[in-house]
Amino acid sequence: MTILEIMERANTRDTKLVIAWIKDAFNAIQSTQRAGGKARIKKANIQKGVREYNLPNDLISIKSVSILDTDDDNKYKKIRRIIDDPIVTEDTNP
């Protein structure tokens, strides 16, 4: 569907404003996980003893996080999310 078709259906004439609203709608769709089917994938190296890793700046909503299982034919396996801080036995970073 073109921007013009959207403008005609919505009975609006301000092209720049409609383009801004379309971007907002796209953002809302991507932030709704059930509708956001067009996911991106990024990978990062895990370093021994390092807990913190940067998330991609263009991220809107996380669908899944996986860790490489090198013992099982290098398959990525989804891991669980925790809410609270766990008690870390070898905490090096307060």
């Binding site: 959207i6 991106r40 994938i41 998330l55 991220l59 090198t70």
Partner: protein
């Protein structure tokens, strides 16, 4: 060597940072309070215990999709570029449009495009101060998002019926 990662690794989101933890489990045989030797699960949470190249994979939705396409594209993503017969068809080759005009397509399927129409209507009414109409079209927007997902997942379930089950 990482093993059983789906059970032994966890993550937590803190702002724009992801925290990765690993569970290290080791069984120890210790005496309990009665002096009986028992296996004790001595699991503990630690930081990643090894280097894993490309070990972390994040699947997410963003302003661009997996093909690097953003909101606006040069052709209709819901159409075919070649549609000759059953076994001769080609999808559109889409490219990004950075300066959209009225003839630019949005990078969404038909159902989601209609949802965007509702969103634009809602914003238009909000701008005019008609909040009740705005609320109506926002509901329509989210309803179409749900419709889009339900159309993608047609799942049939069948369950065996027990011989002696009475209904």
């Amino acid at each position: 060597m990482s093993y059983d990662t789906s059970r032994n690794w966890f993550y937590k989101i803190v702002g724009d940072i992801i925290h990765i933890y690993e569970r290290m489990s080791s069984a120890k045989i210790n005496p309990d309070t009665t002096g009986k030797m028992v296996n004790l699960d001595d699991s503990s949470v630690i930081y990643p215990s090894e280097d894993i190249p490309n070990g972390l994979r994040i699947e997410y939705t963003g302003l661009k999709d997996a093909n690097g396409l953003g909101v606006f594209v040069n052709a209709d993503p819901s159409s075919l570029s070649t549609d000759t017969d059953e076994d001769t068809w080609v999808n559109q080759i889409l490219s990004n449009v950075t300066s959209p005009s009225e003839s630019t397509h949005i990078n969404l399927n038909s159902t989601l495009s209609l949802a965007v129409v509702d969103y634009v209507k809602a914003k238009s009414f909000e701008r005019a101060g008609e909040i009740d109409r705005k609320e109506y079209y926002m509901r329509e927007f989210y309803k179409k998002l749900s419709d889009n997902e339900s159309n993608n997942r047609n799942v049939s379930m069948s369950m065996p019926v027990g011989i002696f089950s009475v209904r």
